[in-house]
Symmetry: C2
Subunit: 388 residues, 2 copies
């Protein structure tokens, strides 16, 4: 197995084959295509697959300044003029108001059941646009063109769409599969470093929960991914999507298995709520710290060897990701009770019973409700003290 | 076959067996239960099927004055206290504002993924509640308890949910299957006569599009249905739901076959748009007039015998349903060009090409795009003149 990994590390052509994934679901199947420079070819790709329907692009200013022009040109070359709907940058864009606005503009522009809605942006754009597509005319085709590493490996695969309401994030939405996911690794060039690293935390997650050999590959090649190596990025994104896809295929509507995708998220989500989504803590950073806490908890429960725990935490630290609460900047005054309370209010919790995704080895996640509060408390304390 | 029909007419016990339908869809299957007095037993039925989750009931004043108390009592008997969300009466309730309000109240009351949302009312309540259920926490269980004849035979089966926006009716929504449809024929006692007749137009539709023997049964027993005979109502609703279910099972997402459910609706919808939904023309009445126009068009095209056309139209007239535009009260000034324009803007139309559901015999609907505008014009003129 190690031989194959070394091969992948050194022989580009092997990686090069890994640029297309077919996601097979009960009712809807679709492709994920990963390619450096794909945006300049998007118009042709879409014409080939879907003909020439009306095209709508939802995007925000972060991405439009860098990438909108060449995207539109790729359609112009096909004789197609997409209509662009630009929404504000930021998490607060995922609101009922913007949902209504997008739908209103689609309907005013005579959207029809053959129209294509393209989400060109990060997770916010993908979630909002996906949801708008899910409910306009009871569902039109949506194409995800994720432009952050996080959305490329996570939010554009799996069909979760949604908006935030005052009671919490993503509490309104639907499961709605895209008709195509087109990933251009080139756009990572204009992604801020901090965002790139935060997205990389989710890449590491896939190794930890389901694929030890991918984790090993990351130990060897992770730096290349972060430094912009095209083939390394393509392979890391491909493999992350493949792992996520396997999990989603087995459990589309989040009954059970899919929960392992939330590794690091039970802790991480509580941190995000407490930090207040003010930009001091990115989602991927919260996941990174949450994964370390979940690894520590797995070890403390005697389910994971000290060696594996040490190796996993050491990798997260060495690559440059945050590992403890103490490292979060900003003015939040953290306390364990508050964090545990947030965990209990998570929408995935039923009857207040906390469930954790833990690992029993690198690449072997499992779900358990059998964790004493004291154990959770101890891990939080340790993270707060900066000892993780 | 006629023997069986007579049997159904005279021997109640045969009809009595027809009170449960299983709808089998690719991913979700559910039951439709039709029973006189079912509401007083709803709590027990739901506890048996779903245990004792949090229950939310969405209803309006039309129905709550008559039937809410006994519904709630049926839950109290099970030790369950449903939370009631009352929305205003009328089509304008199907709005983004009310969707948001319902979701907000659900979330404030700590709705969780096991909660049950009950739609107790007619089509407006069913559509709005179904949509709210579809998107709250990305989907919670919805139980349809339709209280008008129209919603009992039509809108509660098939999973279409939605709201209206300024560009038109039902332009935002989703396909979302209920977990149970519970039909109590008793509630028809408090339904205004005009609403009962309008709903009956959809019952007649099922015979005309797919089941000649059911049409024959209606010719013999339709009056009983309208006069409140329990068993006749049960059988008519059961058969209507069965026919709709067969069509929906074969074509859940409205690709093709499902279009025949729109018999009478292409004309009818244009009439409704022109009449402006001001109460002068109920949906079922528009469908009744639209069906007569579709029958006439079928005959004029030489696809339907004059004998069948005459029999169908005569039945619609004799039972007391409207047959032509001339009979619509109110101040609308009708004209054929305006109506044809509305038809072309229907959301089911692609590329402005009009498609019609016609019949080539009683019980044999088909879909065609091969109709000259002149023919449509002639039929509208005849309906306007009162000659249909």
């Amino acid at each position: 197995m190690f031989g194959r990994l070394l091969l992948l590390e050194t022989v580009g052509v092997v990686v090069n084959e890994h640029n297309k994934l077919r996601i097979n679901l009960k009712e809807n199947s679709y492709d994920i295509i990963i390619e450096h420079g794909l945006l300049s070819n998007l118009g042709a790709l879409i014409s080939e697959k879907f003909g020439k329907p009306k095209i709508f692009i939802v995007t925000d200013n972060n991405i439009s300044v860098h990438w909108l022009e060449q995207t539109i040109e790729s359609f112009s070359a096909q004789g197609v003029s997409p209509k662009v709907l630009e929404v504000p940058v930021g998490e607060s864009t995922k609101s009922f108001i913007n949902l209504e606005k997008i739908i209103d503009q689609l309907l005013e522009s005579k959207v029809d059941r053959n129209s294509l809605l393209i989400a060109l942006g990060g997770g916010v754009i993908g979630d909002l646009t996906g949801f708008a597509g899910a409910v306009t005319l009871r569902g039109i085709k949506v194409i995800q063109v994720p432009t952050t590493l996080l959305s490329q490996v996570d939010s554009s695969v799996g069909g979760k769409t949604g908006i935030n309401v005052r009671q919490g994030k993503n509490l309104v939405g639907s499961f709605y599969q895209p008709s195509l996911v087109a990933v251009d690794t080139q756009v990572l060039k204009t992604l801020p470093q901090r965002q790139l690293f935060a997205g990389y935390a989710e890449v590491v997650k896939y190794g930890l929960i389901k694929d030890c050999s991918f984790f090993e590959w990351l130990e060897l090649n992770g730096k290349k991914v972060l430094e912009g190596d095209k083939l390394a990025q393509q392979f890391a994104i491909f493999t992350s999507c493949r792992i996520k896809a396997e999990i989603v295929e087995a459990d589309e509507k989040e009954q059970n298995l899919r929960a392992i995708l939330n590794f690091g998220h039970t802790f991480g989500h509580a941190l995000e709520v407490e930090a207040g989504y003010d930009g001091n803590l990115l989602h991927g950073e919260a996941v990174s710290i949450g994964m370390v806490m979940a690894i520590e908890l797995s070890k403390n429960l005697g389910h994971l060897s000290g060696q594996d725990a040490g190796r996993a935490i050491e990798y997260i630290r060495s690559i440059g990701l945050p590992t403890n609460i103490n490292s979060i900047e900003g003015s939040t005054s953290w306390n364990p009770d508050g964090l545990i309370q947030h965990m209990q209010h998570d929408k995935k919790v039923s009857n207040g019973q906390l469930r954790f995704v833990l690992i029993k080895g690198i690449g072997e996640a499992y779900l358990t409700a059998d964790v004493e509060k004291k154990q959770v408390y101890n891990v939080i304390e340790k993270s707060l003290s900066g000892d993780l």
